[in-house]
Symmetry: C2
Subunit: 421 residues, 2 copies
């Protein structure tokens, strides 16, 4: 099949197309038993659940265009190749953190993988007011392990450079990030949209020269600081959960970039979830507990990231940077701790900046998030979004001086009580 | 010939091997007229001058090992591919700055190029006390043009990412820089050597934890901050001059890295030339004029770099970073100037750091430089080198606070009068 020209799958053709695949017959059952549903609700791809007599599988196939927009916005199939390569690396770097990949067909842009059940998309769970035990720990460790182990702190230089070169081919998905995240929100770009009522704060943000400078510094960091393999799109829509389990999906935006990018984007989505909660209240204050929990997750993600990153630094620093031969082996273990502190400081500042940008682009750009979008009342939605916009600015411009994650969660609590329209 | 297995050239085989090459017959003359000399004095390659009835050419061929060390240190032939690709990019980005390339044979690792005459290696000229008019202007502009035009400030993103990926293949030459520049000088590494008498200052540097941390931060910047295509080895031995002309050669270490790397390495070599001059005096103070001139070149390189980089920023910023659509086109030209100031500030801090590292590794590591090596008297040499070591430390640890190039040249003048043994 690999040699055949690309054809998009459909529920009707699934058994014919993939019915001979041993791994599917083994784990799902004979193709005669298959029931197939297309369930993709993302912006880009086809996603099928294949259910058979023996089990279920996910079949994800890239389309040669952006699903959200249509054939007028072509997008290369090779993103499937990058997703596959990111998934197998994440699985090796943080075992159990991502779905098991069972099969990859590069020409057909198909990844066949484990069907996660009864998992749901985290963002939907958060909108509904659900909580997930162990969430912050799991995500903080995922960031630390995948980001540490994809860098020159851990990898052999030739392997890291080969991966850097490979993922540099993910041009078109990086282009989406480069434009939609870092530039479009800060001027009146064609694909932007925002909730009516935000005009005042939008005008103030777009007139804020220091903010526009900070956004482009972050863009330059994203395009040039090839520190590690990023997930590249690590928001709460890229996480699937049960009440007790967490899996990360959809790394097709994977590229080499700054360690703080994934962490910042992730924290931003929890802060937006927090600030969106008043829009989902049925009665005054009935989301207060959920809001507290969301901020506790922000703290837990960051603290687990730092703890795990520091642990890996002290136990697995086998790359070419900050070598033990130079530090510990010379009796200079304190230099290693000094360097770790410096690096965590840099990652912290980056995290805050990327966090702020993500809060802006989800409200001002093309790709909005359900946390705000599902607030039916436009006035309430705008009020929540304005707080997120104001907070995003404060994070970006305060990145160099904000001392701790507590300052960030305190800021979120304060913003939640203020009017920024 | 391309399909044949690699064979090292010799003066005797040159006419047989390259005699049918039209560009050589045209520009050098028929092979019967050729006289061939091997003149390589670098650490890595074979270099031949081919002289014929019509002209001369340089034939440079990589050896499959490090010439300086021998076959025990293998080094891949593909460095010739990176040198060729860097040369044609530098020629396009700063016309006239590098020798014209006439022919490239990837399988034989041969670059045939213009013979520069009566040019000499700049380092030798500096040791002899010679001056070159226009040197600082030429080198400052070379840095600004090649570094700006190889970055996301100028290139199309897909082209920049393709070049990033290609040069990421230059693993083995990067490995030399990564080890010999950033790590070996800071501990008792096997290939190190230094002038007797330096033991005291060497011990102090290697016990300086903050310095060892700074060196590794710079190493991480070198390996991860893929801002632009670097020359990668831009010292005074990679520059050929007449009294009035300057050409840059030997970019086989080319890779994507931080803009400040080339600039810092270049300034370091002029500062070392300055600090080495007392070792070349025939009578007290007879190199004072040369010292003043060398520091004026340091100033001129930096000032021309800033002026030209700023000019390109204002007139050629057509990449995806700091777009005019976001700044000038919105009436926010001041944001563009603010961003330029920030970026130049970052480049300045990087430059100072890399400058300091280069001053250390040329005295403590494997590859020393003629500026100091040609000082026959070991005591005088050690005194000069100690000043450079002390200054290197001050630049690395002061990178965040040193306000101007004048502070740097003043520091060099002061160091020159002090005893740092």
């Amino acid at each position: 099949m690999t040699a055949q020209a690309y054809v998009a799958l459909s529920p009707e053709t699934m058994a014919d197309r993939l019915g001979a695949l041993p791994v599917l017959v083994d784990r799902v059952g004979p193709p005669q038993s298959w029931q197939v549903r297309e369930v993709g609700d993302g912006n880009l791809n086809l996603v099928f659940i294949v259910k058979g007599s023996a089990g279920q599988a996910i079949v994800k196939q890239a389309l040669p265009y952006v699903r959200l927009v249509g054939e007028s916005w072509p997008l290369p199939l090779k993103r499937s190749f990058f997703e596959y390569n990111a998934l197998i690396r994440q699985a090796a770097r943080d075992p159990g953190s991502v779905p098991d990949v069972w099969h990859f067909d590069e020409a057909q842009a198909i990844v066949v993988m484990e069907f996660l059940t009864p998992h749901v998309i985290l963002r939907h769970a958060l909108v509904e007011g659900r909580q997930v035990s162990g969430l912050g720990e799991r995500l903080g460790k995922f960031c630390a392990r995948t980001l540490f182990r994809g860098s020159d702190l851990s990898m052999k230089p030739a392997e890291r450079k080969a991966d850097l070169a490979m993922f540099a081919g993910n041009v078109e998905l990086c282009d989406i990030t480069e434009n939609l995240v870092f530039s479009d929100p800060y001027f009146d770009a064609e694909m932007n949209r925002h909730t009516p009522g935000l005009e005042g704060i939008v005008a103030r943000l777009r007139a804020d020269l220091s903010l526009k400078v900070a956004a482009q510094h972050l863009k330059m960091a994203f395009t040039s600081r090839a520190e590690t393999m990023l997930h590249g799109d690590l928001h709460t829509g890229s996480v699937m959960v049960t009440d007790t389990e967490t899996k990360v999906i959809d790394p097709e935006f994977a590229t080499y970039g700054p360690i703080g990018f994934d962490v910042g984007m992730l924290l931003a989505n929890f802060l937006m979830a927090h600030l969106s909660q008043p829009g989902h209240e049925k009665g005054p204050g009935d989301r207060a507990g959920q809001q507290d929990w969301l901020l506790s997750v922000v703290t837990t993600i960051w603290e687990n990231f730092v703890t795990e990153f520091s642990h890996l630094w002290r136990t697995e620093r086998r790359g070419i940077l900050y070598q033990a031969s130079l530090y510990e082996n010379q009796g200079h273990g304190l230099a290693s701790e000094q360097a770790l502190n410096d690096l965590l400081g840099q990652i912290w500042r980056d995290t805050l900046g990327f966090c702020g940008v993500e809060m802006h682009r989800r409200i001002l750009g093309l790709a909005h998030n359900a946390d705000f979008e599902r607030i039916a009342d436009e006035g309430r939605r705008a009020a929540c979004e304005a707080r997120a916009l104001a907070m995003g600015r404060q994070l970006m411009l305060g990145a160099g001086v904000i001392p701790s994650i507590t300052t960030v969660t305190d800021m979120a609590r304060r913003m939640d009580k203020e009017n920024h329209l």
